[in-house]
Symmetry: C2
Subunit: 479 residues, 2 copies
Amino acid sequence: MTEQEGLTVKKSQNFDEWYTQVIIKSELVDYSAVSGCLVFRPLGYSIWELIQKATDEKFKKIGVQNVYFPLLIPEKFLKKEAEHVEGFSPEVAWVTETGDSKLEERLAIRPTSETIMYDSYSKWVRSWRDLPIKYNQWNNVLRWEFKHPVPLLRTREFLWNEGHSAFATKEEAEDERDEILGIYQKITEEFLALPGIIGKKSDKEKFAGATESYSIEHLLPDGRAIQGPDFHHDGQNFAKPFNITFLDKNGKTQYVWQNTWAITTREIGVMISVHSDDKGLVLPPKVAPIQTVIIPIFDDKTKSTILKAAKKIADMLDKKVRVYLDNRDYYTPGWKFNEWELKGVPLRIEIGPRDLKNRQVVLVRRDNSKKRAIPISKLEREIEKELEDIQKTLFKRASEFLETSTHKIKTSDEFKKILQTKKGILQAGWCTDVKCEGKIKEETGAKITNIPLNQNKVFSGCVYCGKKAKVIANFAKSY
Amino acid sequence: MTEQEGLTVKKSQNFDEWYTQVIIKSELVDYSAVSGCLVFRPLGYSIWELIQKATDEKFKKIGVQNVYFPLLIPEKFLKKEAEHVEGFSPEVAWVTETGDSKLEERLAIRPTSETIMYDSYSKWVRSWRDLPIKYNQWNNVLRWEFKHPVPLLRTREFLWNEGHSAFATKEEAEDERDEILGIYQKITEEFLALPGIIGKKSDKEKFAGATESYSIEHLLPDGRAIQGPDFHHDGQNFAKPFNITFLDKNGKTQYVWQNTWAITTREIGVMISVHSDDKGLVLPPKVAPIQTVIIPIFDDKTKSTILKAAKKIADMLDKKVRVYLDNRDYYTPGWKFNEWELKGVPLRIEIGPRDLKNRQVVLVRRDNSKKRAIPISKLEREIEKELEDIQKTLFKRASEFLETSTHKIKTSDEFKKILQTKKGILQAGWCTDVKCEGKIKEETGAKITNIPLNQNKVFSGCVYCGKKAKVIANFAKSY
């Protein structure tokens, strides 16, 4: 790897520039010719495939079924729910022409699929026997934001899951919340090694069309918060304009109760930015497409012996871990070390003539650079242990950062001071008046990320007006 | 199931109407509010997931890597390859506005992704060390055809894989053909139980931008041919306008050689139309989301015993096959029989009090309605055997139909007569002059589906002009 190919800035010195370099130079993603739309290179896309697979398995276990709905949505559908159209129409990409013809009605590229899906639900649902519906799509959506795009974190096209359920009763719909957020929590914590704060969105920040929104909020290394997976109760907000009704067991016509929920490719960006370092990506083992890379060290004389031994080790490990033998002979071992460090492979095995003679290999951890010799006979078990330990270590480190970056705030002055010096998450009492929320945003730039479900005891008055606080809310400068 | 929910026409009497009924009433797919764009309901989408998974595993084994490229393509890119733009621009859906703003340059929704991918390839490829590139996308594409759309068989939006490779030499690129077509052949024959004819497209029918196109052609029950998966050599047709060059081992700048290849959701439509019958879908076991459905037969007194026994059987079979226990108590067994027959589940297990007493169940095959009692102790093995047999039987039946519908033709009169009375595939000598090909199409409506790789001995002159035939080509009325 030449110097040009490695990172030239430090994460601690210039986070934004470091982030761009680390995702581009590691060949995770690339810019495309269309501003704000990203190319997922094999490394980036295989991480998404692993996230998808793990999430999808959990969805299927609770009875979610996958479907696919059209990309294009008639303009009249988007207009059926007032808040929904207001929220999304400024960001919609419109198809107006096909071939040489003008369309009579504009078609929106889906920014989200409520409207086109619920048009079908209204045809499909007749009786209580047809409920619940728990459908999900893994697809691409487009939101033509005019803010400065940041790869993965804010892109105009992104990949996601969009779950859209319908229930006979409000209670059933409400019960789905913890089930889905529980799945997202498992995926973010156990797979991406990303801690997050689960909470309810304020009315001001909730999803366009929802009655209530919930989110998992992450913290970036630069102290800004960023929203992760979310879950929304729609109530009957869509059921009414789309006329999704059913005959209940008593023969009475009722509207359904609905939810929607999503996890997006943004998570990859958050994960990268939290764990990675000045040498490149650091990938948690569970989402690392290659978990262990084997680098044989040889000269012309030892080449065939070493490659044979390396191949044997690769075959042995292949049943347990995702292993890759880098047997290219036109790059030096040192070049390869740098390349695979840049690409974030959790473990590296080095094997040279002396190692082979001693029936051992050298094992190097990506997260802490620790090196140790291991007898080949113990390798399989040691690799598994190290991968588990790396996964835990990354989560622990990120959790500690989140904890030390979360500040209990009692006064407005303190609020402003902490925000300027330390950033992070500011926990503060809030009277739940939207005016205070608005003023805080106006004066400090911080918004309510969410109101944690896991509520601390209210320890002060409203951080803005000083009146009685009804909840502890989390405030932060946010993406 | 009420009569309204079952099929009301016979496949042999009105194929088109039968086809529409079978795919809609089985809840495989549904129409959407956007003409020509389809909704994949859970049944249809899970079939696609099974096809994807089987194909993707085979791709990965030969080193293909998945990627994701933007949905939108700048107009100037589409124009870079002359034949490509000519072929696709009449069918392109154009984004011209976003939010309230007009775009400066129109953006095409991808009808296929050569142009946006190759723009990136030209950045990524520098040296022979960067080759080969074997990238694939599983995504959605849009082709705004103005012909009458037919669900799955001809839709404006469809799902597919698009593989796009780049090699250092022409020979390597050529070698990929049999590898990829071999994968598609395995998927169509062994999974979808669909026979096909592998051959080369005539120049007139080849892909816009390719130097050579190859396809697997299927035959529909009404005697029309339809194109299945395809493979195209691009030569250097895109490498030159997109400037995809590399330094070879001698330090010389060279253009890459490229291929593209695809399988689409159309295969589901072909598969359904070939195997299904007047009772509904008939799914080959390998792509059946539910391979065996268990229908417990009980009254109030026997309910709990029967359900318990049925659950035990379901758990036992669950390791080996995709099994579903239909324990709904608000539908009669007869209603359920009809429903699962309509949905094409290959095997049905009936278990009632008398069966349980005899430690047996009744097993019913969807493809031939054969019923037999089987001791529970032998069930696991028998189920596996029956599923294998159904898979083979469907393929055999379809292969026989293809064989008896393929006609060797020597004269122009014979050609026209067969086409009017029997349809099917017409094998005939062809001088390879595009004028004869054009005249045949003009006069009979039949086009060359492909020129089989597995060439029969030339047995006559050109079926149109009578001059020496260079190849045996397959002609058919075609979708």
